[in-house]
């Protein structure tokens, strides 16, 4: 299901910014700075597609998820859902929009209330959006949802602790599906799961997408998982998108040095490739988002760094000779992983 680009995107993000103030003093708080968690990003999500959002911890991917859900108020920028800016909405209008954007959280242990039964958890969205399901039919709908995500509908009266990690994540997914949203934001939905269970949940996400025509914003730090599930990928670094493109462009023809380093660092479960992989070893750590470097934010760890990188911030544009946007003054294709196509 390749989305046609003539469509309007379901969700479009323009110049999204979120700064968290840093304050000093107890009684008289004075703002002394800001953590620039998300610092001007643009994203587009089309119907039925999966947009992967990757980056290391602290790059702002989870803050982006919270902003898309309007769990946080953006400092600046627009979030257009079918052309309507939801960044400024409140009250009833916001509640109506929220029905269409749901979230699946990372940790299935802390994101489910231990004192509520599975039926209450999955059915809670119906209590908030009462018009979706008439009272009498709720139980049946919850059971249907449990069946859709591969849980036994008879377990409706059980509590979260009676389920395994993978099953709990399924409960979280069922809750996300309850209101038949158009978009599901998945914030690291499989990272807390065991390898043997992870595949079950990834496959479930794919099945549900086909069944309900869902669009996913899939946030993960595991680049292998993101490649497997995403149609398009945006790579984030310190609150900025540094490169964006379809799955093939990012993984087979990465142009931003950070993307290249990130991809080359992913361990491949194949010992025959040991020593034959093009591995780029980055120096140091990610700088603090409270005080990001001037110009290009990646310049402190980049091996291509020149004077211009400190002075001028590179724009996220399609550069000469390349086929997708990259925020590097010296963007150039370097294939770091050799892709094999399985048929």
């Amino acid at each position: 299901m390749e989305p046609s680009r003539t469509d309007e995107p379901v969700l479009e993000v323009r110049g999204l910014v979120k700064h968290f103030p840093l304050t000093q003093g107890i009684l008289f708080k004075k703002q002394v700075g800001a953590v620039r968690a998300v610092d001007g990003i643009d994203l587009k999500l089309y119907k039925g597609e999966t947009l992967g959002l990757v980056g290391e911890s602290g790059c702002g991917k989870s803050t982006t998820a919270r902003l898309l859900m309007r769990l946080d108020q953006p400092t600046e920028g627009q979030i257009l859902f079918h052309g309507e800016d939801i960044a400024q909405l409140s009250g009833k209008a916001l509640k109506a929009v929220r029905r269409n954007i749901q979230i699946v959280l990372q940790d299935p242990y802390s994101s489910l209330n231990p004192r509520m039964t599975v039926g209450d958890i999955v059915g809670e969205p119906f209590q908030i959006h009462k018009d979706v399901a008439p009272r009498g039919s709720r139980r049946k709908m919850v059971q249907e949802l449990l069946e859709v995500v591969g849980l036994n509908p008879e377990h409706i009266h059980r509590y979260p602790h009676q389920f395994s990690g993978g099953q709990r994540q399924r409960i979280g997914i069922a809750r996300g599906l309850a209101l038949r949203p158009e978009i599901i934001v998945c914030d690291e939905p499989v990272s807390a799961l065991d390898v043997s269970v992870q595949a079950q949940v990834i496959n479930l996400f794919e099945k549900l997408q086909d069944e309900f025509g869902l669009s996913y914003v899939f946030i993960a730090h595991d680049l292998s998982v993101v490649r497997h599930i995403s149609d398009r990928v945006s790579v984030m670094y310190l609150g900025k998108v540094v490169e964006t493109g379809d799955e093939e462009q990012i993984y087979e023809r990465p142009t931003h040095p950070y993307t290249q380093a990130l991809l080359s660092a992913v361990p491949v479960p194949d010992p025959t490739l040991r020593g034959h992989r093009d591995q780029i070893m980055l120096e140091g750590d990610v700088p603090s988002p409270a005080n990001p470097p001037s110009g290009c934010r990646f310049r402190t760890r980049c091996w291509k760094v020149q004077d211009v990188c400190a002075q001028e911030e590179p724009e996220l544009i399609v550069r000469e000779g390349l086929d997708h946007p990259s925020a590097c003054h010296f963007a150039d294709v370097r294939q770091v992983i050799e892709t094999r196509i399985l048929t």
Binding site: D194, R227, L262, D270, R274, Q279
Partner: protein
Amino acid sequence: MTQTDTTTNQTPRHRKSAGEDRREQDPNATVLEVENLHVEFRTRDGVAKAVNGVSFDLHPGETLAILGESGSGKSVTAQAIMGILDTPPGYVTQGSVRFRGTDLLTLPEKARRRYRGEKISMIFQDALSSLNPVYSVGFQIGEMFRVHRGTSRADAKKHAIELMDRVHIPAARDRVNDFPHQFSGGMRQRIMIAIALALDPEIIIADEPTTALDVTVQAQVMQLLADLQAESNMGLILITHDLGVVADVADKIAVMYAGRLIEKAPVLELYASPAHPYTERLLAAIPRVDLKGQELYTIKGIPPNLTDIPAGCAFHPRCPYAQPICTEQVPALDEVSAGRRSACHFWKETLDGTLANR
């Protein structure tokens, strides 16, 4: 993480490095032998059999990866070797852990302390919670020298600075008095490595050393471990669930499931042709960054509860090839070929790929 050093690709027995001459004993002798180790946890909900007869050995300079999911008993095995098992509820009920011939499990606690940190040391997963937040990192690294060697405070600090240099912490002299929270995750893990390295142990056990780290930092830390290992010819036991990391660094692999070793093999053979259905399925269940159009196979069900391990082969409820015999008889860890073992009644068929899916 990539082993650029060509010598590290040879089998460990033939490896020659500066560290080898240092050892008094025969440098190529087995340094650690774990035999038939059993550990159980006696809890209110019953006895959880966390480790059920694990045996392996380790040579100097060798990297053994113990691979398994959560609850497979891999961390408990490490704790039993180190002698840091919480007792109660954890008890070693059987087996031996021999370090250069001495059984550590029968030693009195006082004698055992001579081994912990000096001969065998450990790196933990979560550096933030493993380091003491109220002492400076220099103090914590130096503690190894003060406690084990009776070094003075000033000398211990000097050693700490040297070690911080050795694990590539920038500006070690200025940072030696900093506290753990002032370091990033990757740097904290380096401090843990410095502590483990302090007394020049012969074995390092690394329990998920990079799980909490980002991929670029993970690559740095694994590279550091590989370099240090090559420098001093240490044996490394790497405990992890990450099949990617294992492929990059391990010499041999032991796969654990429900407290048992189910497959042991040199790294190349294990990935090329797994001899146990669990390993085979696990390899097919992970998405790979270099594959396109990959179909993910799933392993049905979940890992078993250790208080109630299924009879026969513990994997049989999830195994696509399970036969009646699998539910009755615990498969022995049979020799498949030299240095290779598999605990499956049908390892031959698994290797040939002739098992029918049912």
